[in-house]
C-alpha cells in the first residue's frame, strides 16, 4: 500500500512536468492576451511583460521554479482573475467534487442493481431494456443528453432549475440549502452518470452471470441458502471486483465528462473555470486545474485500490 502511495506521488510529478511542457509548447501566452486587451502592443512592451512574468527565462528553469512552487502548495497567481490560483480552485473544487462523486456513486449503484437484475432474468424484457439503455447511454454524447434533459425537465416540465448550483433567493437553515443544492444537482448528476450507468450495468451483468456459474455459488445453493443470499452475498461480492476496477479506470473519464456537463448546466465548478481560463490563455490557472484534476483521478484510483482490497482478500495478501 505504501508503495502504491509512492507511485501515485511520482505519477503526480510526471503529470506536472507533462502539463507544463505542453502548455509551454502551445502557441500564445499571457503577454498576447494582455496586449490584445490593450488593443495591441509593440515588441518591446511584449518583452517587458514577459520579463515581468519570468516568461523569458529558459524552459528548464521555468519548469523547476514551477514544480518547486507546486510542491509548496503554491500554484501561482492568476493574471486574469487577479487571485492566487489555489484560492480560485479551492473555491470551485467542492462543486466539481460533489458532481463527480455523486455521479460516480449513482452510476455504480444503479449500474450494479440493473446488472444484477438483468443477470438474474437474463432473457427477460428488462434485461433487453438494460442492454438497449446501455447502448444508448454509452453512445450518446454527454452534452446531447444534457441538453435533452434540460429541455425536457427544466424548460418543458419545470421540475428542475435551468442552471447554477444554488438559488440565491432561497434562505434558510442547512437542510433547506442542502435540499436546494440537491435540486440543482439532480440533472447534471443524471447526465454525467448516464454514460457510466450503461458501462457498469453491462459489465456487472456479465460478471454476475459468470459468477453464478461458479462452483462456490453451487456450494452456496447446496447449503440451502435462499436465492437472495446466494446472489447478494456469495455471488455479488465476487462479481463486484471487475466493476469496481472499471469504475476506477473510468475516474478520469468522469472528471473530463464533468467539464462538459458543467458547461451545459452552468455548474460553477472547475470545468467552467477551465473553459474561461483557456479562452483567456491564463496559463497558471489552466495548469492548476490540470494539476487538481490529476490529483482527483489519482486519489480516485487509490480509493479503488482500497475498495478492491476490502472486497477480495486474495488481492490484499498479494501485497
Amino acid at each position: 500500500m505504501i508503495q502504491r502511495v509512492a507511485n501515485a506521488a511520482l505519477l503526480l510529478i510526471a503529470v506536472l512536468v507533462l502539463n507544463f511542457t505542453m502548455m509551454h509548447l502551445a502557441p500564445g501566452d499571457i503577454a498576447d492576451t494582455i496586449s490584445q486587451s490593450m488593443g495591441g502592443a509593440d515588441a518591446t512592451v511584449m518583452q517587458q511583460i514577459r520579463a515581468e512574468y519570468g516568461l523569458d527565462q529558459p524552459f528548464l528553469f521555468q519548469l523547476k521554479t514551477y514544480i518547486t512552487k507546486v510542491l509548496h502548495f503554491d500554484l501561482g497567481y492568476s493574471y486574469f482573475y487577479n487571485q492566487p490560483v489555489t484560492t480560485l480552485i479551492l473555491e470551485k473544487l467542492p462543486a466539481t467534487l460533489l458532481l463527480v462523486i455523486s455521479a460516480q456513486l449513482l452510476a455504480l449503484v444503479l449500474g450494479i442493481l440493473m446488472g444484477v437484475y438483468a443477470a438474474r432474468n437474463r432473457n427477460g424484457f428488462f434485461s433487453f431494456l438494460v442492454t438497449l439503455f446501455a447502448l444508448l447511454g454509452y453512445s450518446a454524447p454527454v452534452f446531447w443528453t444534457g441538453i435533452l434533459l434540460l429541455i425536457a425537465f427544466s424548460l418543458k416540465i419545470q421540475w428542475f432549475p435551468v442552471a447554477g448550483m444554488v438559488d440565491v433567493t432561497i434562505s434558510g437553515g442547512f437542510f433547506t440549502r442542502a435540499l436546494d443544492i440537491a435540486h440543482h444537482l439532480f440533472l447534471p448528476m443524471i447526465t454525467l452518470a448516464s454514460i457510466f450507468i450503461a458501462l457498469y450495468s453491462r459489465l456487472c451483468r456479465a460478471s454476475v452471470m459468470e459468477v453464478l456459474g461458479t462452483d462456490y455459488v453451487r456450494t452456496a445453493k447446496a447449503k440451502g441458502l435462499p436465492e437472495r443470499s446466494v446472489v447478494y452475498k456469495h455471488a455479488l461480492r465476487n462479481a463486484l471486483a471487475p466493476v469496481v476496477t472499471l469504475a476506477g479506470l473510468q475516474f478520469s473519464a468522469v472528471v473530463s465528462g464533468a467539464v462538459l456537463v458543467e458547461t451545459v448546466f452552468s455548474w460553477p465548478g472547475l470545468g467552467s473555470l477551465a473553459l474561461q481560463s483557456i479562452i483567456a490563455r491564463d496559463t497558471p490557472t489552466i495548469l492548476g486545474i490540470l494539476f487538481f484534476s490529476a490529483l482527483v483521478v489519482i486519489v480516485g484510483n487509490l480509493l479503488t485500490d482500497i475498495v478492491l482490497r476490502m472486497l477480495d482478500p486474495r488481492i490484499a495478501s498479494k501485497g
Binding site: T214, D215, R218, K221, K223, G224, L225
Partner: protein, 340 residues
Amino acid sequence: MNDSFRSQNKPALLKVQNLTIELTTRLGTAPVIDDVSFELHEGETLCFVGESGCGKSMTALALMGLLPEKVSRIASGSIEFNGVDVTQASADFLNQLRGNELSMIFQEPMTSLNPVFTVGEQIAEVLRHHQGVDKSTGVKLATQLLDQVKIPEAHRRVHSFPHELSGGQRQRVMIAMALACQPKLLIADEPTTALDVTVQAQIFDLLDELQKEHNTAIMLITHDMGVVAEMAERMVVMYAGRKIEEGPVDEVLQQPAHPYTRGLIACVPHLQAFMHEERVPLLEVPGVVPSLNQFGGNQCLFADRCDQVNERCLNNRPENKYTNQRSVACWYPTAEGVFL
C-alpha cells in the same frame, strides 16, 4: 419398472425411481441419465462407479436439485427422500433439506469454497441458517467442526481464507461444512480425485469415522475400485447414463455379471491392497465411451466394446434384470448361477 430391492424392512431413506435427465447440447438433446433406479438406506454406503462422463455427477446433482439450469432437466422419474419427492418439492422445501438433512461434497475442492469469505464464516453460515445459532456460537461450532475433520490449529484456521489452505484442507473444510448439521445423507462426489494419495486415504478414513458416529448414509462417487472395496456395502456401476449393474460389493467384485464390470475389475489386480498406495489410472477398459448423442439409443451402449456382442444387443436395449440382491442390464450376463 419398480423392482428395486426390498431386502431391508425399514423404508429406504432415498428412493430413486426411473430417473431420466435430459441434457441439451449443441448436438441436440440426449438422456444423460436414462431410466436409473436405486435405493439407499440409513447408515449405508452406496458407491457409484463408471468412466468419466457416464453421468455420476449428474445423478448426484439431481438429488440435490442442483442440475445445471437451462441445459438440463428431469424428464421423468422421481427422487424420494424421506418419503417426499424432491423433484416436485418447492424451492423453500428444498432449501430446508439442503445443507441440513442432505449435503454434498463436490469433486472440485479448489474452487468450491467462496474465495472472499473465511472458512469459519462459510461453515458458520450453514449453522446459522439451519439451526438458528447466533454469530459467536456459529464460530465456536465451526472451530469444533474443523477440529473434528482434523485441521490443525482449528481456532486459528477458522479465520483463514480458502486461498490460505491446501487442497486437502479445503476438502476437509467442505466435509466439515457438509456435516455441520449432521445430515441423513451425504453425497460425496469423487471427494479425493483432486488430492494426492496420502491425503486421499485420510479423507476416506475421516468419512468412515464420521459415518459410524452419526449413522449417516453416504452416496460415494468414485473412479476407484479400491475405494469401493474398502468403503461400500453396495455398488452401482454406471455406463453411458444407465445403471448397468448393482449389488453388494463383495458379490459384484467376485462375480461381476456385466462384461463392463468384469473389464473394470480385471484392470485392478489387487483390489484390497490398493487403498493406501499409489495407483495406476483405473477404469481402463479398452475402447471409448459412446458420445452423448448416442445416449438413449435402443441398443446396448456397451456393444462397441463388448466381446460377447451379437445381433440382439445391437437392436434391443437390455432392461435391468433383478434378483434378490442384484441387478444387471445385459442380455448375456456372466455371473454363473446368479442371473439365469
